[in-house]
C-alpha cells in the first residue's frame, strides 16, 4: 500500500466544523475523511458523500427471509412429508405467517449487520488509525489528503483560518482502511483532485 501525506486539523465544535468542511471543499482540497465522536446529521451531505444503500440491502435480505420461510415450509408440509394435524389443510398459510415474519426480520437484521461490517471493514482484531485518539471523545478531526502539488504550508494556514485548533502533517498508508505503515514510506504521486 502506498503512503500518503495528510494534513490533519482538529476542531472542538461541530458548529465550526460545518462551515470549515464547506470552505475546504470549495477551495479544492480533497477531504480524506472527517472523524467525529458522534453522528452529525448533514455532515455527509456537506462532504458530498453519496447516500448509503444499506437500507436497500436490508430490504433484499428481508424478502429473502420471507421467501425462504414460505418456500421451505410449503415444500416440507405439502411435498416432502404432508402431516395431518387435526384435519387442517396441508397448505396452512395463516399458520405460517409468524415464522415467515420472524425469518424476514432475522435475515434482514443479520444481513444488514454483516453488510455494515463488510462495508466499513469492521471486525474483531481489525486495527485502524484515525489520526487523533480524541476523535472518539470530543474532537472533530478533518484529514486532508495532500498530493505532490499541494502546498502543505498553505493548507495548514488555510485549515487554521477556517477554525482548526491544531493542525499536524502526517504520513499514513492508505487502503481499505488506514492501518500499518509502509516499510518503504514512499509518497504516492496521485493526480490532483478537485472535490
Amino acid at each position: 500500500m502506498p503512503v500518503k501525506k495528510f494534513i490533519v486539523g482538529s476542531f472542538y465544535d461541530e458548529q465550526v466544523l460545518f462551515p470549515a468542511v464547506k470552505a475546504v471543499r470549495k477551495s479544492g482540497y480533497k477531504i480524506h475523511d472527517v472523524y467525529t465522536p458522534f453522528p452529525i446529521h448533514g455532515l455527509d451531505t456537506a462532504m458530498g458523500l453519496r447516500d448509503t444503500s444499506l437500507h436497500t440491502a436490508g430490504f433484499i435480505y428481508g424478502i429473502t427471509g420471507t421467501t425462504t420461510a414460505f418456500s421451505f415450509i410449503t415444500w416440507a408440509f405439502t411435498t416432502d412429508w404432508p402431516l395431518n394435524i387435526g384435519g387442517k389443510p396441508f397448505f396452512a398459510l395463516p399458520a405460517w405467517i409468524p415464522i415467515m415474519f420472524e425469518l424476514t426480520v432475522l435475515f434482514a437484521a443479520v444481513g444488514m449487520v454483516l453488510t455494515f461490517c463488510y462495508l466499513c471493514q469492521l471486525a474483531p482484531f481489525v486495527k485502524k488509525d484515525h489520526f487523533n485518539l480524541r476523535s472518539t471523545d470530543d474532537t472533530f478531526v478533518m484529514a486532508i489528503e495532500a498530493n505532490s502539488k499541494t502546498n502543505v504550508e498553505e493548507a495548514i494556514q488555510f485549515l487554521q483560518s477556517v477554525g482548526a485548533q491544531d493542525v499536524v502533517v502526517t504520513e499514513k498508508e492508505t487502503g481499505w482502511w488506514i492501518g500499518r505503515y509502509d516499510q518503504k514510506k514512499q509518497l504516492a504521486t496521485n493526480q490532483p483532485h478537485i472535490a
Partner: protein, 480 residues
C-alpha cells in the same frame, strides 16, 4: 444547519450538570475504568452464588428427570413456564425503549437505552432456559430445529405456536444482540482510545472492531440503527404475541381468548419498565450517573408504567366480562371459582395480581409519587411481583381444576429445585448485568453527545438566538 436543531424551551433538559463532550466521556467511562467497588464485589458474588445454585438445580432436574419438579398431569405447566413468560416479558422494555422510542424521536431514551437493551438480552437468556429444560431430555433440545434428520426427515410442526415461539425468541435474542452491539461499537472505541492499561487496550481493541468514527461509517451506522429499530418494533410486538398464542390457541378455559396478544404485550412492557426502573435506580446511584439518568427519566418511565398498568387492568376486566358474557360455563367457572373467588385455593394469587398490577400503580397519577425515588423503587418491585403472579394465575388457575374433578390437583407447591432454577436465572441475570456494568459503558456515550447541544442544560438557553441567525451569519460571527 443540521446541528442547530430547535428544542422547545418548555421541555426540561435531559442531561444536567453543564456538561461538555469531554465531561460526558469522563463521567460514563469512569465506572468502567475505576477498580470495582466493594458493593460491586458483594453483588457479583451473591449473583454468582445464586447462579451456581441454579446450575445445581438444573443438574438435579437433568439427571433425575422432571419428576424433581412438582408438576403433574393436571398442572403440566407450573413455575417453569410462569418464569419463562415472566422473563420474556421483562425482556421487552429494552427493545421498546431503543426501537419504538427511537422511531418516536424520544430524546430521553438515550440516557437509559443501553442498560435497558442489555437487560433485555439477559432477560431473554434467562427466559430461554425454562422451555429448554422443561423438555426433560434436554440433550434432544435440538429436535425443535428444522434440520434434515434421519427420521424421514420428519419436520417440526410449523403450524404449532410452540414452534413459532422457538423462532420468535431466537430471532428476538439475535436481533436484540445485534442492535445492542452495533450501538456499542462507537463507545467501545472511545474506551479503546482512552485505555492506558495493556489488557484494556487489547480487550477494547478487539471488541470495538476497529471503529474510527469516519463520517461514512456514521452515515451507515445511522441507517443501520434506523432500519434495525424499524425491524425491532414489529418484532417486539410479535414476540409476546406469539408467546400469548401458546395459550390463546389452546382450548383451556381462561386461555382461549382473542384478547391475549395485546394484553400480553401491554403486560410485557409494564413489567419490563418496572425492571428497568429497579436496575436504573440502583445503577445511577452506585455509578454516580444521576446527571444522565435524571429524575425526569424516572418520571417518564413511571408514566409508561401507569399507562401500561391501566391497559393491563382493562384487559383483566375485559376477559372477566367476556367470560360472563359468553355464557360458556367452563370459562365462567375458571374465572369465577378459580380466580375471583378469594377463598378458592388460588384466589389469593388473583387478588395479589390485581392489587400489584392494577390498583397500586394508580398512585403514579400524582406527580409527587412519580418523582419519589423510594416509592418508585418499591413500586417497581411490586409490579414485577404482580406480573409474576399474573402468569402464575393464567397458567395454574386455568389448569388445576381439570374437566374431570377426579384429576383436580388443588395444591401445587414447587420443589426446592424448581425454586432453585428460578433463583438461578436471577443469578444469571445479575451476574451478566454486573459484568456489563463493569466492562461496558452503561449509557450510550455517542448518543448522549448527539443530543447534548439540543437537550443539555448548558446549551439549551443558548440555542434560541443561534437558531434565528442564518447559517452564513452564524459562520461569520463564530468562525474566525
Amino acid at each position: 444547519m443540521a446541528v442547530l436543531r430547535y428544542e422547545s424551551q418548555v421541555r426540561p433538559p435531559i442531561v444536567e450538570g453543564g456538561k461538555d463532550y469531554h465531561q460526558v466521556t469522563e463521567d460514563i467511562c469512569r465506572p468502567v475504568e475505576a477498580k470495582p467497588t466493594k458493593l460491586w464485589w458483594i453483588g457479583f458474588i451473591i449473583s454468582v452464588a445464586l447462579l451456581l445454585f441454579g446450575v445445581y438445580s438444573v443438574y438435579a432436574e437433568v439427571v433425575y428427570g422432571t419428576g424433581q419438579w412438582n408438576l403433574n398431569k393436571t398442572i403440566g405447566w407450573g413455575w417453569d413456564i410462569t418464569n419463562f413468560v415472566w422473563w420474556v416479558g421483562i425482556g421487552h422494555a429494552g427493545t421498546l425503549i431503543s426501537a419504538i422510542l427511537l422511531l418516536f424521536r424520544q430524546g430521553w431514551r438515550t440516557g437509559v437505552n443501553r442498560a435497558a437493551e442489555a437487560m433485555t438480552i439477559f432477560a431473554v437468556m434467562c427466559a430461554g432456559q425454562f422451555p429448554i429444560f422443561h423438555m426433560g431430555r434436554v440433550w434432544n433440545a435440538f429436535f425443535v430445529l428444522p434440520y434434515p434428520n434421519t427420521r424421514g426427515p420428519l419436520w417440526v410442526n410449523f403450524d404449532s405456536p410452540l414452534l413459532w415461539d422457538v423462532f420468535a425468541i431466537s430471532t428476538y435474542f439475535t436481533v436484540s444482540l445485534l442492535f445492542w452491539y452495533s450501538g456499542l461499537l462507537p463507545d467501545l472505541a472511545t474506551l479503546r482510545d482512552r485505555a492506558k492499561l495493556k489488557w484494556r487496550k487489547a480487550f477494547y481493541g478487539v471488541t470495538a472492531f476497529g471503529w474510527t468514527g469516519s463520517t461514512k461509517h456514521w452515515q451507515r451506522h445511522e441507517s443501520l440503527s434506523l432500519v434495525l429499530a424499524g425491524l425491532s418494533t414489529p418484532l417486539v410486538l410479535s414476540v409476546h404475541t406469539i408467546v400469548s398464542f401458546d395459550f390463546a390457541t389452546s382450548v383451556i378455559p381462561g386461555w382461549h381468548t382473542t384478547i391475549f396478544p395485546p394484553y400480553f404485550v401491554a403486560g410485557a412492557i409494564f413489567s419490563g419498565f418496572a425492571m428497568v426502573q429497579t436496575l436504573l435506580l440502583i445503577t445511577r446511584k452506585v455509578l454516580g450517573l444521576e446527571e444522565y439518568i435524571t429524575i425526569e427519566h424516572i418520571e417518564v418511565m413511571n408514566k409508561v408504567i401507569v399507562l401500561t398498568g391501566s391497559i393491563v387492568g382493562i384487559a383483566y376486566l375485559t376477559e372477566l366480562f367476556m367470560a360472563w358474557y359468553s355464557h360458556v360455563s367452563y370459562e365462567w367457572f375458571a374465572f369465577k371459582e378459580n380466580r375471583v373467588n378469594l377463598f378458592s385455593p388460588y384466589g389469593w394469587s388473583y387478588w395479589l395480581m390485581m392489587g400489584c398490577n392494577v390498583i397500586s400503580p394508580q398512585i403514579f397519577w400524582f406527580k409527587k409519587f412519580r418523582r419519589n425515588l423510594t416509592i418508585t423503587f418499591f413500586m417497581s418491585i411490586l409490579v414485577n411481583v404482580g406480573m409474576w403472579f399474573e402468569r402464575f394465575v393464567i397458567i395454574v388457575t386455568s389448569l388445576y381444576r381439570d374437566y374431570l374433578p377426579s384429576s383436580w390437583s388443588t395444591y401445587y407447591t414447587p420443589t426446592i429445585w424448581e425454586i432453585g432454577f428460578y433463583l438461578g436465572t436471577f443469578g444469571l441475570f445479575f451476574t451478566c448485568y454486573f459484568l456489563f456494568a463493569k466492562f461496558f459503558p452503561v449509557i450510550a456515550i455517542a448518543e448522549i453527545k448527539h443530543i447534548l447541544k439540543k437537550n443539555g442544560d448548558r446549551y439549551k438557553d443558548e440555542m434560541t438566538p443561534i437558531e434565528k441567525e442564518k447559517v452564513e451569519d452564524f459562520a461569520h460571527a463564530h468562525v474566525h
